[in-house]
Protein backbone atom coordinates (compact mmCIF):
# COMPACT_ATOMS: atom_id res chain seq x y z
CA UNK A 1 0.00 0.00 0.00
CA UNK A 2 1.30 3.48 -0.80
CA UNK A 3 0.54 6.99 0.40
CA UNK A 4 -1.61 7.59 -2.67
CA UNK A 5 -3.51 4.30 -2.39
CA UNK A 6 -7.23 5.14 -2.40
CA UNK A 7 -7.82 2.23 -0.01
CA UNK A 8 -5.82 4.01 2.67
CA UNK A 9 -8.61 5.77 4.59
CA UNK A 10 -7.15 8.04 7.27
CA UNK A 11 -10.21 9.36 9.05
CA UNK A 12 -13.84 8.54 9.77
CA UNK A 13 -15.91 11.69 10.16
CA UNK A 14 -18.54 9.78 12.16
CA UNK A 15 -16.13 9.71 15.10
CA UNK A 16 -16.72 13.05 16.84
CA UNK A 17 -13.90 15.44 17.72
CA UNK A 18 -15.03 15.29 21.34
CA UNK A 19 -14.48 11.53 21.58
CA UNK A 20 -11.57 10.11 23.55
CA UNK A 21 -9.27 7.38 22.33
CA UNK A 22 -8.00 4.77 24.79
CA UNK A 23 -4.89 2.74 24.14
CA UNK A 24 -3.76 -0.33 26.02
CA UNK A 25 -0.09 -0.10 26.92
CA UNK A 26 1.84 -3.24 27.89
CA UNK A 27 3.69 -3.12 31.19
CA UNK A 28 7.20 -2.96 29.81
CA UNK A 29 10.22 -1.56 31.69
CA UNK A 30 10.31 2.23 31.84
CA UNK A 31 7.48 2.93 29.40
CA UNK A 32 6.55 5.48 32.06
CA UNK A 33 9.61 7.69 31.91
CA UNK A 34 11.35 10.08 34.30
CA UNK A 35 11.05 13.86 34.09
CA UNK A 36 14.58 15.06 34.82
CA UNK A 37 13.06 18.33 36.08
CA UNK A 38 11.18 16.36 38.74
CA UNK A 39 7.70 16.71 37.19
CA UNK A 40 5.13 13.93 36.74
CA UNK A 41 6.09 10.88 34.68
CA UNK A 42 4.87 10.58 31.11
CA UNK A 43 4.59 7.78 28.60
CA UNK A 44 7.54 7.60 26.28
CA UNK A 45 7.55 7.35 22.51
CA UNK A 46 7.78 3.56 22.53
CA UNK A 47 4.10 3.11 23.42
CA UNK A 48 2.94 4.76 20.20
CA UNK A 49 3.70 2.11 17.65
CA UNK A 50 2.44 2.21 14.10
CA UNK A 51 2.61 -1.25 12.63
CA UNK A 52 1.02 -4.25 11.00
CA UNK A 53 0.23 -2.11 7.95
CA UNK A 54 -2.94 -1.06 9.76
CA UNK A 55 -2.32 1.81 12.12
CA UNK A 56 -2.16 2.24 15.89
CA UNK A 57 -4.68 0.24 17.90
CA UNK A 58 -7.12 2.22 20.10
CA UNK A 59 -10.61 2.03 21.59
CA UNK A 60 -13.07 4.78 20.69
CA UNK A 61 -15.18 6.30 23.50
CA UNK A 62 -18.17 7.11 21.27
CA UNK A 63 -18.41 3.42 20.29
CA UNK A 64 -17.78 2.34 23.89
CA UNK A 65 -20.76 4.45 24.93
CA UNK A 66 -22.94 2.72 22.33
CA UNK A 67 -21.75 -0.66 23.61
CA UNK A 68 -22.18 0.41 27.23
CA UNK A 69 -18.65 -0.41 28.34
CA UNK A 70 -16.33 1.61 30.57
CA UNK A 71 -12.62 2.22 30.12
CA UNK A 72 -11.95 -0.04 33.09
CA UNK A 73 -13.45 -2.99 31.22
CA UNK A 74 -10.94 -2.64 28.40
CA UNK A 75 -7.92 -4.18 29.99
CA UNK A 76 -6.24 -6.49 32.40
CA UNK A 77 -4.80 -4.00 34.87
CA UNK A 78 -2.05 -6.37 35.99
CA UNK A 79 -0.31 -6.44 32.63
CA UNK A 80 -1.20 -3.17 30.93
CA UNK A 81 -1.64 0.52 31.56
CA UNK A 82 -4.32 2.58 29.92
CA UNK A 83 -3.68 5.88 28.22
CA UNK A 84 -6.08 8.31 26.64
CA UNK A 85 -5.98 11.27 24.27
CA UNK A 86 -8.66 13.25 22.43
CA UNK A 87 -9.63 12.66 18.81
CA UNK A 88 -9.23 16.42 18.32
CA UNK A 89 -5.51 16.08 19.13
CA UNK A 90 -5.12 13.28 16.59
CA UNK A 91 -6.70 15.46 13.89
CA UNK A 92 -4.92 18.68 14.83
CA UNK A 93 -2.17 19.87 12.50
CA UNK A 94 0.37 21.61 14.72
CA UNK A 95 1.33 24.96 13.30
CA UNK A 96 5.03 25.44 12.68
CA UNK A 97 6.66 27.86 15.10
CA UNK A 98 9.45 29.81 13.43
CA UNK A 99 12.77 30.58 15.08
CA UNK A 100 13.25 34.19 16.21
CA UNK A 101 15.23 34.84 13.03
CA UNK A 102 12.16 33.92 10.97
CA UNK A 103 13.40 30.59 9.65
CA UNK A 104 11.23 27.52 10.07
CA UNK A 105 12.56 24.87 12.44
CA UNK A 106 13.86 21.67 10.88
CA UNK A 107 11.07 19.11 10.73
CA UNK A 108 8.36 21.72 11.16
CA UNK A 109 7.01 21.05 7.69
CA UNK A 110 6.17 17.50 8.68
CA UNK A 111 2.45 16.78 8.67
CA UNK A 112 1.04 15.94 12.11
CA UNK A 113 -2.67 15.73 11.26
CA UNK A 114 -3.98 12.18 11.48
CA UNK A 115 -7.33 10.49 11.91
CA UNK A 116 -9.12 7.49 13.35
CA UNK A 117 -11.13 4.76 11.64
CA UNK A 118 -13.34 2.14 13.25
CA UNK A 119 -12.05 -1.41 12.90
CA UNK A 120 -13.73 -4.37 14.60
CA UNK A 121 -11.06 -6.37 16.43
CA UNK A 122 -10.83 -10.14 16.70
CA UNK A 123 -9.98 -10.05 20.40
CA UNK A 124 -10.55 -10.02 23.34
CA UNK A 125 -13.54 -12.37 23.67
CA UNK A 126 -16.01 -9.65 24.62
CA UNK A 127 -17.66 -8.65 21.32
CA UNK A 128 -18.67 -5.26 22.74
CA UNK A 129 -14.97 -4.48 23.22
CA UNK A 130 -14.16 -5.80 19.74
CA UNK A 131 -16.72 -3.44 18.21
CA UNK A 132 -15.22 -0.46 20.08
CA UNK A 133 -11.85 -0.91 18.43
CA UNK A 134 -10.34 1.60 16.06
CA UNK A 135 -7.08 2.50 14.33
CA UNK A 136 -5.21 5.79 14.45
CA UNK A 137 -3.67 6.61 11.08
CA UNK A 138 -1.56 9.26 9.41
CA UNK A 139 -1.62 10.01 5.67
CA UNK A 140 1.26 7.58 4.98
CA UNK A 141 0.70 3.88 5.81
CA UNK A 142 3.25 2.11 8.07
CA UNK A 143 6.43 1.10 6.22
CA UNK A 144 5.53 3.10 3.07
CA UNK A 145 8.12 5.59 1.79
CA UNK A 146 8.51 8.59 4.08
CA UNK A 147 6.32 7.26 6.90
CA UNK A 148 8.89 7.47 9.67
CA UNK A 149 9.51 11.25 9.99
CA UNK A 150 5.77 11.85 9.69
CA UNK A 151 5.02 9.29 12.42
CA UNK A 152 7.79 10.74 14.62
CA UNK A 153 6.24 14.22 14.49
CA UNK A 154 2.78 12.76 15.03
CA UNK A 155 3.67 10.55 18.00
CA UNK A 156 5.53 13.40 19.73
CA UNK A 157 2.31 15.41 19.49
CA UNK A 158 0.41 12.47 21.04
CA UNK A 159 3.03 11.96 23.75
CA UNK A 160 2.63 15.60 24.81
CA UNK A 161 -1.16 15.22 25.04
CA UNK A 162 -1.56 11.77 26.57
CA UNK A 163 -2.94 11.03 30.03
CA UNK A 164 -1.95 7.72 31.56
CA UNK A 165 -3.38 5.49 34.24
CA UNK A 166 -1.32 2.66 35.67
CA UNK A 167 -3.82 0.97 38.00
CA UNK A 168 -7.56 0.57 38.10
CA UNK A 169 -7.93 2.69 41.23
CA UNK A 170 -5.31 5.29 40.32
CA UNK A 171 -5.98 8.82 39.11
CA UNK A 172 -5.08 9.76 35.58
CA UNK A 173 -1.61 11.27 35.31
CA UNK A 174 -2.04 14.43 33.29
CA UNK A 175 0.95 16.01 31.54
CA UNK A 176 1.64 19.64 32.37
CA UNK A 177 3.57 22.29 30.50
CA UNK A 178 5.69 24.39 32.86
CA UNK A 179 2.97 24.03 35.50
CA UNK A 180 0.09 24.84 33.12
CA UNK A 181 -2.74 22.38 32.40
CA UNK A 182 -2.28 19.58 29.90
CA UNK A 183 -1.89 20.55 26.26
CA UNK A 184 -4.77 18.29 25.27
CA UNK A 185 -7.47 19.88 27.39
Amino acid sequence: MTATDPEWVVDDEDVPDEATLFRRVPDQPDFLDVDLNGGPPRLGLGVFSYKDEDGMSVYVSSRMKDEDISDEELIDWKRVYLCRFPVATVRRADAATPYPDGTAPVGSDTETAGGVVLDVASFPDDERVQRSHGLVRIPIPPKAAGWRPMWNAFRIKLMQATHVKVAKSADWIVPTTNGDPARST
Partner: protein, 181 residues
Protein backbone atom coordinates in the same frame (compact mmCIF):
# COMPACT_ATOMS: atom_id res chain seq x y z
CA UNK B 1 77.37 -5.30 37.20
CA UNK B 2 74.27 -6.82 35.64
CA UNK B 3 73.72 -7.23 31.94
CA UNK B 4 70.88 -4.74 32.11
CA UNK B 5 73.10 -2.13 33.67
CA UNK B 6 75.73 -2.93 31.08
CA UNK B 7 73.17 -2.29 28.40
CA UNK B 8 71.97 1.06 29.70
CA UNK B 9 75.29 2.36 31.02
CA UNK B 10 77.41 1.28 28.09
CA UNK B 11 79.48 4.02 26.50
CA UNK B 12 78.33 5.38 23.19
CA UNK B 13 80.72 3.17 21.26
CA UNK B 14 79.04 0.04 22.70
CA UNK B 15 75.44 1.21 22.28
CA UNK B 16 75.18 0.19 18.68
CA UNK B 17 76.40 -3.29 19.63
CA UNK B 18 73.76 -3.47 22.36
CA UNK B 19 71.04 -2.39 19.96
CA UNK B 20 72.15 -4.99 17.43
CA UNK B 21 72.02 -7.64 20.14
CA UNK B 22 68.56 -6.60 21.24
CA UNK B 23 67.31 -6.53 17.67
CA UNK B 24 68.74 -10.00 17.07
CA UNK B 25 67.00 -11.30 20.16
CA UNK B 26 63.67 -9.86 19.07
CA UNK B 27 64.03 -11.40 15.61
CA UNK B 28 64.97 -14.74 17.13
CA UNK B 29 61.98 -14.62 19.47
CA UNK B 30 59.57 -13.78 16.65
CA UNK B 31 60.97 -16.56 14.48
CA UNK B 32 60.70 -19.14 17.27
CA UNK B 33 57.03 -18.35 17.98
CA UNK B 34 55.27 -17.56 14.72
CA UNK B 35 51.96 -16.89 16.45
CA UNK B 36 53.43 -14.54 18.98
CA UNK B 37 52.57 -11.42 17.00
CA UNK B 38 48.96 -12.60 16.71
CA UNK B 39 48.88 -13.52 20.35
CA UNK B 40 50.28 -10.14 21.21
CA UNK B 41 47.55 -8.45 19.18
CA UNK B 42 44.90 -10.67 20.80
CA UNK B 43 46.24 -9.80 24.22
CA UNK B 44 46.17 -6.11 23.34
CA UNK B 45 42.57 -6.44 22.12
CA UNK B 46 41.59 -8.24 25.32
CA UNK B 47 43.25 -5.51 27.38
CA UNK B 48 41.42 -2.89 25.35
CA UNK B 49 38.05 -4.61 25.95
CA UNK B 50 38.76 -4.87 29.66
CA UNK B 51 39.63 -1.19 29.71
CA UNK B 52 36.45 -0.33 27.78
CA UNK B 53 34.41 -2.31 30.32
CA UNK B 54 36.12 -0.46 33.14
CA UNK B 55 35.28 2.86 31.49
CA UNK B 56 31.65 1.74 31.05
CA UNK B 57 31.39 0.81 34.71
CA UNK B 58 32.72 4.25 35.57
CA UNK B 59 30.07 5.86 33.36
CA UNK B 60 26.81 5.72 35.31
CA UNK B 61 24.65 6.74 32.36
CA UNK B 62 25.94 4.01 30.03
CA UNK B 63 25.87 1.36 32.75
CA UNK B 64 22.28 2.23 33.57
CA UNK B 65 21.36 1.93 29.89
CA UNK B 66 23.04 -1.49 29.68
CA UNK B 67 20.98 -2.62 32.70
CA UNK B 68 17.77 -1.24 31.23
CA UNK B 69 18.34 -3.09 27.96
CA UNK B 70 18.87 -6.34 29.89
CA UNK B 71 15.48 -5.81 31.57
CA UNK B 72 13.80 -5.03 28.24
CA UNK B 73 15.18 -8.27 26.81
CA UNK B 74 13.18 -10.16 29.45
CA UNK B 75 10.04 -8.87 27.66
CA UNK B 76 11.06 -8.40 24.03
CA UNK B 77 13.26 -10.20 21.51
CA UNK B 78 15.28 -7.32 20.06
CA UNK B 79 15.86 -7.32 16.33
CA UNK B 80 19.13 -7.39 14.44
CA UNK B 81 21.91 -5.40 16.03
CA UNK B 82 19.78 -2.67 17.64
CA UNK B 83 21.36 -3.26 21.05
CA UNK B 84 24.93 -2.74 19.89
CA UNK B 85 23.96 0.16 17.62
CA UNK B 86 22.19 2.02 20.42
CA UNK B 87 25.08 1.39 22.82
CA UNK B 88 27.50 2.72 20.20
CA UNK B 89 25.47 5.95 20.15
CA UNK B 90 25.36 6.16 23.94
CA UNK B 91 29.05 5.38 24.47
CA UNK B 92 29.92 8.09 21.97
CA UNK B 93 27.58 10.70 23.42
CA UNK B 94 27.43 10.14 27.19
CA UNK B 95 30.10 11.32 29.58
CA UNK B 96 30.35 10.61 33.31
CA UNK B 97 28.27 13.65 34.22
CA UNK B 98 25.58 13.23 31.53
CA UNK B 99 21.92 13.06 32.56
CA UNK B 100 20.58 9.52 32.29
CA UNK B 101 18.48 8.53 29.29
CA UNK B 102 15.47 6.28 29.75
CA UNK B 103 15.85 3.29 27.43
CA UNK B 104 12.71 1.43 26.32
CA UNK B 105 11.61 -0.84 23.51
CA UNK B 106 10.03 0.99 20.59
CA UNK B 107 6.90 -1.17 20.88
CA UNK B 108 8.33 -3.61 18.36
CA UNK B 109 11.85 -5.05 18.25
CA UNK B 110 13.81 -1.79 18.31
CA UNK B 111 15.13 0.45 21.09
CA UNK B 112 14.69 4.10 22.05
CA UNK B 113 16.92 6.15 24.35
CA UNK B 114 15.07 9.26 25.46
CA UNK B 115 15.71 12.19 27.75
CA UNK B 116 12.85 14.33 29.06
CA UNK B 117 12.88 17.44 31.21
CA UNK B 118 9.46 19.10 31.20
CA UNK B 119 8.68 19.66 27.53
CA UNK B 120 12.33 19.43 26.51
CA UNK B 121 12.84 16.06 24.87
CA UNK B 122 15.61 14.24 23.02
CA UNK B 123 15.31 10.74 21.59
CA UNK B 124 17.40 8.36 19.52
CA UNK B 125 15.68 5.30 18.13
CA UNK B 126 17.34 2.28 16.50
CA UNK B 127 15.10 -0.01 14.48
CA UNK B 128 15.80 -3.54 13.29
CA UNK B 129 15.69 -2.50 9.63
CA UNK B 130 18.96 -0.62 10.19
CA UNK B 131 17.43 2.86 10.40
CA UNK B 132 17.71 5.45 13.12
CA UNK B 133 15.55 8.40 14.13
CA UNK B 134 16.72 11.48 16.03
CA UNK B 135 14.12 13.82 17.55
CA UNK B 136 14.64 17.01 19.54
CA UNK B 137 11.86 19.04 21.15
CA UNK B 138 12.65 22.37 22.81
CA UNK B 139 11.45 23.63 26.21
CA UNK B 140 8.35 25.14 24.55
CA UNK B 141 7.35 21.74 23.16
CA UNK B 142 8.29 22.60 19.58
CA UNK B 143 9.86 19.88 17.43
CA UNK B 144 13.27 21.19 16.35
CA UNK B 145 14.92 18.10 14.87
CA UNK B 146 13.27 15.15 13.16
CA UNK B 147 15.62 13.04 11.10
CA UNK B 148 15.43 9.43 10.00
CA UNK B 149 17.95 7.61 7.87
CA UNK B 150 19.99 4.45 7.62
CA UNK B 151 22.93 3.91 9.99
CA UNK B 152 23.84 6.33 12.75
CA UNK B 153 23.16 9.97 13.55
CA UNK B 154 26.17 12.32 13.61
CA UNK B 155 27.68 11.13 16.91
CA UNK B 156 29.62 14.35 17.60
CA UNK B 157 26.41 16.28 17.15
CA UNK B 158 24.53 13.86 19.40
CA UNK B 159 27.21 14.35 22.06
CA UNK B 160 26.70 18.12 21.82
CA UNK B 161 22.91 17.69 22.12
CA UNK B 162 23.31 15.52 25.25
CA UNK B 163 25.77 18.07 26.69
CA UNK B 164 23.27 20.91 26.10
CA UNK B 165 20.45 18.82 27.55
CA UNK B 166 22.53 18.04 30.64
CA UNK B 167 23.38 21.73 31.13
CA UNK B 168 19.68 22.68 30.93
CA UNK B 169 18.72 20.01 33.49
CA UNK B 170 21.55 20.87 35.89
CA UNK B 171 20.58 24.56 35.79
CA UNK B 172 16.96 23.72 36.63
CA UNK B 173 17.36 20.66 38.84
CA UNK B 174 20.94 20.18 40.07
CA UNK B 175 19.77 17.27 42.25
CA UNK B 176 18.45 15.29 39.25
CA UNK B 177 20.38 12.17 40.37
CA UNK B 178 18.05 11.94 43.39
CA UNK B 179 15.30 10.91 40.96
CA UNK B 180 17.12 7.66 40.29
CA UNK B 181 17.83 6.59 43.87
Amino acid sequence: MSVVNDFYQAPTAKTSWARRQRSAWVQKLRASTKSSAHEHRDRLAADRDALADAVIVANDAVQRAVNQIAKIEEHVVLGGDVRSRLLTCLRASLSADSVFPTVTSDGEDGLIAQWRAGERFLAVEMTSDGDYSLMLVDSDGVLRRNESATGYPDLDNLKALVRDFTAAVVARNPRWRDLFE
